[in-house]
Amino acid sequence: MSATLDAPRTALRPARKRGVNWEKWGWIYMRVSGVVLVVLIFGHLFMNLIVGDGVSAIDFAFVGGKWADPFWQWWDVVMLWLALIHGGNGMRTLVNDYARGPRIRAALKLSILAAVAILILLGTLVVFTFEPCPVGQPADLLPSFCTA
């Protein structure tokens, strides 16, 4: 009577032999999105924290000035999607490594998925429905081009 132990890092369920290898594509996604995110986030930090007066210059007018340009709208939306999915998949890895019990694991992964999906939807809607010159708002809070 000897107890048998699984080999270290034995998967909870055996890897599928057929169909799409989602873990492989997730692995590739982390690397491809990672390279793109380095460029997008370093550019974001440079524009918002280094140029001009940095963080102290950020207000509604600053954001309005940026998002009046489709270039920065798309920059931020691509960054939003890539970063949330990259971060969500990373959090999934941590749940797989550290969370015990099937119900807690499922609940945590569902929470991550919900947070990622809701924030992608919210962020995309905000960027593309943004109105830089809302009517009835004090002109001194708005981008300078609103009064032109």
Partner: protein
């Protein structure tokens, strides 16, 4: 091992900041006053120091992530993984030396 631990810790920290940052930015859709009130809290001295920590986490995660890619795809990556970790730390120090004074001047002189 420490590169692996730091990659996880910085990753989690960045993820939770990202959740908050999307919500605060979404306030531009509510009103200019609402957005300015919340973004004003990012311009206080304490948050200014927090932003140094955040950028430090992002810069480490970025450089170490590129190191991971090189370990995976460069034929000599595993042989030089330790050297590349020291390169990551050196680049991190240089980047933070360039960023931190500039950022703290922006935070404390306004």
């Amino acid at each position: 091992m420490w590169s692996w631990v730091l990659h996880r810790i910085t990753g989690v920290a960045i993820f939770f900041f990202l959740l908050v940052h999307i919500l605060d930015t979404a306030l531009v859709r509510v009103s200019p006053e609402a957005y300015n009130a919340v973004i004003g809290t990012y311009q206080t001295p304490i948050m200014g120091l927090g932003e140094v920590a955040l950028v430090g986490a992002i810069v480490f995660h970025a450089f170490n992530g590129l190191r991971i890619i090189l370990i995976d795809f460069w034929s000599k990556g595993t042989r030089y993984q330790k050297v590349m970790f020291y390169v990551v730390i050196a680049l991190w120090v240089l980047t933070m030396l360039a960023f931190t004074p500039r950022h703290l001047i922006n935070v404390f002189s306004h």
